[in-house]
Assembly symmetry: C2
Homo-oligomer: 137 residues x 2
Amino acid sequence: MKRDLIEELRAHDIQPSAQRVAVAQYVLFTGEHPSADQVWAKVRRSLPVLSRATVYNTLNLFVQKGLLRQLVLAEGKVVFDPKVDAHHHFIDEATGSIHDVPWEALEVRKMASLRGYDVREYQVVMRGRKAASGRKA
Amino acid sequence: MKRDLIEELRAHDIQPSAQRVAVAQYVLFTGEHPSADQVWAKVRRSLPVLSRATVYNTLNLFVQKGLLRQLVLAEGKVVFDPKVDAHHHFIDEATGSIHDVPWEALEVRKMASLRGYDVREYQVVMRGRKAASGRKA
DNA sequence: TATAAGTTTAGACGATGTCCAACAATAGAT
DNA sequence: ATCTATTGTTGGACATCGTCTAAACTTATA
């Protein structure tokens, strides 16, 4: 398990230090969308001497190397998402929590006919509430 | 001009103080997407005794009353947009500048078939560069 | 083992945003 | 007009977020 992680870091051209493995261990497998300081708080439980700067450095490194994606969706908050493949986001206005919506669930049309913009990526950002009716998603 | 502004504030249930009118005069008519502190800097030129707290209060009030929309799109920045009607956004990765894309320019399908979510509003957020080819938009 | 390259650290820093308690302006009643 | 209760404004203190730095520490390599 930790073995594989080290391999994955190496595969992404990242020297696997103890701190980086510890951060990866949490952030790559969480279903939450934690902020940098939330990652710090969590990971410090298992690696108490971890500094805030290192967490920020590590997260930025992971984003740069394609292990993580950075989201700027919630009110004033930057948040990290281990799902690197394209998907959309739904923000629950009641709780502020962020949910992933599969790419195939929606279809955006006419993107190609946009003049003047060279779009490299896009996503649909929705806001609302979890439906009272219907299954919990 | 200032008359109409006062009327518009009143129409939105906002007591038109000198500070609020000054802020409105700039922020409701700008094509930029200014941050709160940018608004502060700009408006202070015409109303020098304006405090930072008032600008934050006023912008939040305007958002709450529907005169402004708050965007959380750029890296770690909250920004204000006087276009309250629905539209999409394009973020220029080179400059960080934000561009409005008309609602009709894109079409999102299958939204209705989303289970479990009660979507109140949505938009498409695109990132990329202004096209080298093609007219500047 | 020596050396260079890479990593971590604490704390300083700037920018953002909120909060407060004192002060000022206003609306509404008389 | 004047009084009073309500509403706005102010500057400064405070918290949070993210970046930076210089020194210390690790790791890789020869």
